[in-house]
Symmetry: none
Subunit: 252 residues, 2 copies
Amino acid sequence: MAISQEISYRLERLILDGGLAPEQKIPSERQLATRLGVSRAVIREALHELQGRGVIETRHGKGSFVASMVPGASEIGEQSPLMHLFEGHPRTLFDLLEVREQLEGQAAYLAAQRATRLDRHRITKAFRTLEDTDPLSNARLDHGFHLAIVEASHNPVLVHVLNSLKNMMLLTVQASVANLNPREEMRKKIVRQHRQLYEAVIAGKPANAQKVAMAHVRFVSEAMRDMEKDGGTLIRLPVNQDAANEYSRAST
Amino acid sequence: MAISQEISYRLERLILDGGLAPEQKIPSERQLATRLGVSRAVIREALHELQGRGVIETRHGKGSFVASMVPGASEIGEQSPLMHLFEGHPRTLFDLLEVREQLEGQAAYLAAQRATRLDRHRITKAFRTLEDTDPLSNARLDHGFHLAIVEASHNPVLVHVLNSLKNMMLLTVQASVANLNPREEMRKKIVRQHRQLYEAVIAGKPANAQKVAMAHVRFVSEAMRDMEKDGGTLIRLPVNQDAANEYSRAST
DNA sequence: CTTCAAAAACTGGTCAGACCAGTGGTCTTC
DNA sequence: GAAGACCACTGGTCTGACCAGTTTTTGAAG
C-alpha cells in the first residue's frame, strides 16, 4: 500500500481514537514530513485524502484542523462514500426530487387504492391540521400529511425508501427554501395541490392521486430550480441539522 | 479556493453527470496535468481527495478508475432497524418488487431519454453478452444489463436506491428462484422482454421503455407469486450472500 | 512464420528543493 | 499608543528527477 495511504489511515485512527480532538490543530506539513521521515508531498496527499473524507479541514496560512463532527449526521447516518459524493452538488437535489416524484406518485396511487378507514381518518386529521395552522410553522405538519399518505400505501419498503430520500434531502438542502412558501402565489398553489391530493386519495381515485402527487413534487422541484437561477445560493454544504431542517417549509 | 480542490470538484461533477462511467479509466496524471495546465502534484492531490471520498480507485502502474457507484454495502438497506422487520416476511419481497417496478420503469424512461453514445454502447454490449450466453450462468449478466440501463439514467440517486433495493432482495429471497428460468415458456418471455426493453432504450422511446421495464418487473413478480402458491418455499431467511446471489437467475 | 524473453514505454509513487501566497506576531517609527 | 514594515510561520504550486509496477513493442531464436 502507498505510504500516503498508510499515513492517512494512521492519522484518521489517531483522530477517531480521540488522540486529536475536534478543532485541534494538526502539526504542520513540514513537521509531519520530518517526523515521519517522508517527503512533504506524501503528507499533502495523505491530508487531501482525509480532507476528501471530511475528517480534517485545511486553511491556507493557518494549518489543518480536525473537523468538528456534526453529531446529528450520525443518526441520519450515511457517511458512506455516496453521501460524500452527493454533498454540495446541487444536481443531486434534483436527482432526489426526480426519484421522489415517482415514488410519491406511487404512494398516492397505492394509498388511494388501499387506504383503510383508519388511514383515511389519519390522513384527514393531518390534512385539517395542516390547513388550519400558521403557514410559517408548517414544516412538521406538511411532512405529517405526506407521511400519512405514504403509510396508507401499506408498503413498508416504500415508506422506508421515501424516508431515506427525505433524510438525504436534509443533508443536501440548506436553509432558505423558506423563501419558497412565503411567496403568496406559490403558497396558494401548494395549498391547492394538497387539497387535490387529499381529495383524490380519500375519494379512492388512484390514477388521479398519482397524477396530483407527481405534479406536486414536480412543482416544488421547478420552483427550487427557478430559485437557484435567481436567488443564488439555495444549496450548500449542510452545516448543522437545525438549519437543514428548514427545508421542509418548502412543503413536499 | 485551491486549484486542486477546483479540479477534484470538476472531476467529481464530470463523473456524477455521467461524463465518466463507472469502471472507466481516468486520463493519466501526466495527461491531466498537461491538459489542465497545472503541475502533476496538484492533479495528484485532487485525485487523492476523490480517493478519500471513494469516488475513484487508483492502482499502481495501471491508472485511476471511476469507482462503481455501488459499494458493497449501501445505506438505505442493511443494518437499519427496519431490515429486521423485513427479514423473513414474504410480503416484503412483493413490496420490494412493487417499488422496483416503478423505479426500473423510471430508469428505463430516463435512459431512453438521456443515454449517450457511450451508454448505448455499454448497454448494447451487456445485452449482446446476455443473449449469447448460457442461460444457466445468467446471474451477473442479467444484472449487468439492467445496471447498464439504470446507470444510463444519469441519476445517481436512482442508481443508489435501486442498488439498495437489490441488496434488500438478496437479503429476503433465498435461492430456488432458479426454478423460474428453467421453465422454457418463461425464459422465452423474459428474453423477449429484455429485447423489447433494449430496443426501446436504444431507439430513444422513453414512454415505451418505461412500459416494457415495468411490465418486465411485474411479470417476474407475478411469476414468483405463482411459484409461492405452488412450489412452496420460495422465500427464506437469508443465510449467506452466496446463496442469496442465486436470485438473479430469476432475471429482473 | 511463431514463440518468447528482453527492452521500451507507459502507469502511479516518492523525493528534493525552490518559490508564491496567506496569516500573525514583533519591532521599529511616528 | 497606533501604524506600518518586517519576519517567521502556515499551506499552495511548480519543476524535474528517479523508483516501481504494468503493458506494449520489439527483435532474436526456434
